[in-house]
């Protein structure tokens, strides 16, 4: 039987570099293999560290679950750390990904369209020509992702409610018995 299928991870744009090479005194004597960073690991570092998103938002952008994103990110950091400490080369290649460029929405005809010519600026809708377009921007302060699948439970009566991201469970009181709730 084949192993469990992996969902393809979404990467917005491929990296502009192909990798890194160390330089310095010791590194010329070393002749070790390079470490391969996958495209999804590069994207995990880009979303989490460069764009400073938290793991919930970044995992939604990548199209995977939050624990999967955390595993990918952890693997990425471990590879980078190993390359630093052991003086190895880093190459960025491979992985189960698909690339998806920026998409724009049009307020007039309600269509979504992509922009394969990344250098050109998009000013008109490709379908109806109107200029009422906006780029799909992953700004979660406005969309307000506050709920997921996590729960707060009451240690006294077992009542469960959905956990809101950003609000601590131990600041909520159970509506049934009044005890302070805790994170499931």
């Amino acid at each position: 039987m084949s192993p469990r299928i992996r969902i393809l991870r979404k990467v917005l744009n491929p990296p502009i570099i192909n990798g890194f090479k160390p330089y310095g005194q010791e590194s010329e004597k070393l002749n070790l293999e390079s470490i391969n960073l996958l495209y999804e690991e590069y994207e995990a570092i880009r979303l989490s560290d460069y764009d400073a998103l938290n793991h919930h938002e970044a995992s939604i952008i990548m199209g995977v679950s939050r624990p999967t994103f955390t595993r990918i990110y952890g693997s990425a950091l471990q590879k980078v750390a190993k390359a630093f400490v052991e003086g190895r080369q880093i190459t960025i290649k491979g992985g189960q990904v698909y690339f998806d460029s920026d998409w724009y929405t049009c307020n007039t005809c309600k269509c979504y369209f992509s922009n394969p010519e990344k250098e050109k600026n998009v000013e008109n809708c490709s379908l109806c020509g109107s200029q009422q377009i906006n780029e799909i921007d992953y700004n979660y302060d406005e969309i307000g992702i506050t709920q997921g699948n996590d729960l707060c439970v009451c240690p006294n009566c077992g009542f469960e409610q959905q956990h809101q991201y950003g609000k601590k469970c131990n600041q909520e009181k159970c509506p049934t018995c009044g005890t302070t709730m805790k994170r499931a």
Partner: protein, 105 residues
């Protein structure tokens, strides 16, 4: 420039097909010459890879834009690399004539 539209039938009054790989017909419309061509989709009933085969058909006709209801994951990146623009129109009641009118803005 040439625009392809996925269609449920082969007349101008047909509505847009919400799928790309397994749509009933493709309409290829040329913006300059106003020529219109209806092509039945040969990959409609194929077992797998209908999307990639349809993309090859579009590329062989030198299409610049494709209008459909949705595109599968595997072909999104393929169309991106071929520099073909994708337009998603999630309105299944829109007719081909209305879409061509919008294009002639």
């Amino acid at each position: 420039m040439k625009v392809a539209i996925t269609s449920t039938g082969n007349s101008l009054e047909s509505t847009i097909d919400q799928r790309f790989g397994r749509c009933a017909y493709f309409v290829i419309y040329d913006n300059e010459s106003k020529a219109m061509e209806f092509i039945p989709n040969p990959y409609k009933e194929s077992k797998e890879d209908a999307g990639t085969a349809s993309v090859q058909l579009m590329a062989s006709r030198n299409v610049n834009k494709i209008i459909s209801g949705e595109f599968g994951i595997k072909i999104k990146s393929l169309l991106d690399s071929l520099k073909i623009q994708m337009i998603v129109l999630k309105q299944p009641e829109k007719k081909i004539t209305e879409i061509i009118e919008l294009l002639n803005h």
